[in-house]
Amino acid sequence: MKELLVFILIVSPFMFAVLCSIIKSDKIRSFVVLAMGIILSVSSLLLITKVPFSFSPKSVFTIKVNHIIEVSDFLLLFLMLFFAFKYKSILIRIFVIFQMVFVSYFDFFLKQNHSDYPTIYCDHLSLIMVLIISIIGSLICFQAVPYMKEHEHHLNIHPAISKQRGFFFVMVLFLGAMNGLALSNDMMFFYFFFEVTTICSFLLIGHDQTEVAIKNSIRALWMNSLGGCAFIVAIVWIYSQIGTLDIQEIIRTYGNAKYYVLPLALICLAGFTKSAQFPFQSWLLGAMVAPTPVSALLHSSTMVKVGVYIVLRFSPVFKGIFLSQCVALCGAFAFLAGAALAVGQSNGKKVLAYSTISNLGLILACAGINTPAAHTAAILLIIFHAVTKALLFMCVGTIEQHIASRDIEDMRGLYAEMPITALITVMGVITMIMPPFGLLLGKWMAMEAAARNLLVILMVSLGSALTVMYWARWAGTLMSDPFAGKFKLESQPILTWIPLLSLCSLASVLSFLAPLVYTKMIVPDLNSNFIPFDIHRGIFENSYGQFPVVPLCLIAILGFGVAVWAVKSAASSRIVPPYLSGAQTAEPGTFTGPMNQLVKSEARNYYLSRIFGEKRLTTCINLAAGVWLILMVGGTL
């Protein structure tokens, strides 16, 4: 049974991807995507009852799995090399050839026929990743169907030369690769899937084939290949020391003083590039040129989580050493810097991108703090960030197609135009920053866990205040309009509504169920006798803190009810124009200027660009982060 499930989760997306690339009819392809999404979601849910498990699949379609991976590794690297020559990128050439040398050295000289170990391993952490990928990923693929139709229509691409087949091929394939990554227990499998996600990201960023898109996709490729280089070096190094590729075995035995720490630092470095931590953030920002479903799937909820996932996976190994400290500091710094840069942005997608970097930084900081409570925080943050950020990206995508802009200033008064989407976006923002929702629960745990670490808590507290600033500003802007009676609800394709509404409800319901998620999914994984939080009556409690999730949720529901009643009752009150020194006219938002001309009153948001502007901060932040990283890697020698 579990073999079948794993097969469905990893291999079937590859088959569905091929189907997507063959089928010419849009309708049938949509159906295939839908079917795949449902199958993946159901199998991932069925997997819950099976964990933890491990096994070693011998063959797929009578071919040995090891051989498939070995051959595909080279195919993939040659494909990258092809792109390196096609786009004349020297950096990619260097990194790819470097990886080829190491992979061949490993495959032909170093590798021995070693004893059996499970190549597939699934504990609760992998399960959480699989659930996120399969459920949220599928929802994003659903939304991509109407989105891409509209997208090509908008770009005046004739249906005959539509590139949707290629698009869905990569999107669907990516889901399989991600599932493979989460479930594999063999370093080489992991490395292979890591590279697949890199190339998927490259292809999808460059999907529109505009000049900017190509430039940004090349940057993404070389930065992620750098991560790949670090990873393969780490694999070879670790293998030459302890002679196994079994990740669980490595975690069990490697935490010994007699081994070098540098490979671990390299793994962290690979994670940092994948998670777009400073100074590698520029690829993620560039990735925002891609169609929005891509940003939602790869660049916020799943692929960038790979980075934090590997760091979290290996964190027990470097517990209590200098590297752990470094990871915590780098993460906290990224949290602060990402939030600061997000404050200076008015481009909605860029705000989301920086906010993603910032939140990933917080998760890394938790991994670096390396206590059971911090791990709990990290996992909660991974779950809730994936849900909420995917939701927000989809909202921005829907809004962007409607108003043809992704600038926050252009979303002023969106409530009058797209009431439901605007409300869902505001709900997303609320779940992002407010108690009792899951992200804040995670942040609270992170802060309490970090309290003994002066620098970390300092950066986290500053970053947290900045986070509040840019989210609150956005939510307010969406609602900013004179309210005049009833609005017409906007109409959207059903495949847009389903993901939006289900993610929105998921974000809120899952917060209510956070205690359950904790006891069922996180505690079994901590594999220590020390349980960071006791749960009673839905209250998280330990010796130094207390977070009553369920009571607060109940109060929040009550308060929400009262507030909605207030809106209803306020609708009967007299509606007046906003205060404009008495000079307002019948035309909303205007006043009588000189010569009796109507002048539009305008107020723009504060973006504080002289303090938090991208131009001003990026160089300093990259420099600082670069120094941190060098310290991190160098300090382990």
């Binding site: 007046v576 124009p577 205060y579 008495g582 000079a583």
Partner: protein
């Protein structure tokens, strides 16, 4: 219910918030209005605050003549004030247009445009008279 209403209307007389609008005054009456806020008169003793915002105000103090240009502003401000509200016209100009009443651009006194509850005469009106006018208006709230 009647008890609550009575209670609230008593509170109204204890907390009158003012909006002062200079509707084309020579600043004579304005100075006198501001004088009420100084320690000499200290109208905050009676809970009176000059809020400068129609959304918060209970009493509209208008000084000066109304002309064609600013009558719109006066009406706008008046409409933005939540009920119950009273209007106090101050000074000769506010009452009737004063010496400007025949000018080509002048509409006349405040009551040409919005309903006035209390008239405070004087050129300029004395602070004591203004306070007296406000207090007289409170009984209407």
């Amino acid at each position: 219910m009647i008890g609550i209403k009575k209670f609230i209307s008593k509170m109204r007389t204890k907390s009158p918030w003012l909006l002062h609008f200079d509707c084309g005054s020579c600043n004579g009456c304005d100075i006198e209005v501001l004088a009420c806020l100084t320690p000499v008169y200290d109208v905050e003793r009676f809970g009176i605050i000059n809020v400068g915002n129609p959304m918060h105000a209970d009493i509209l103090l208008v000084t000066g003549t109304v002309n064609h240009r600013n009558k719109v502003v006066l009406i706008n401000l008046f409409n933005q004030m939540p009920d119950p509200k009273i209007v106090v016209a101050i000074g000769a100009c506010g009452l009737s247009g004063g010496i400007f009443r025949d000018a080509y651009n002048v509409v006349g006194g405040v009551d040409k445009v919005i309903p006035v509850d209390v008239y405070v005469p004087g050129c300029p009106a004395k602070p004591e008279a203004i306070i007296d006018g406000v207090v007289a208006g409170l009984s209407k709230l």
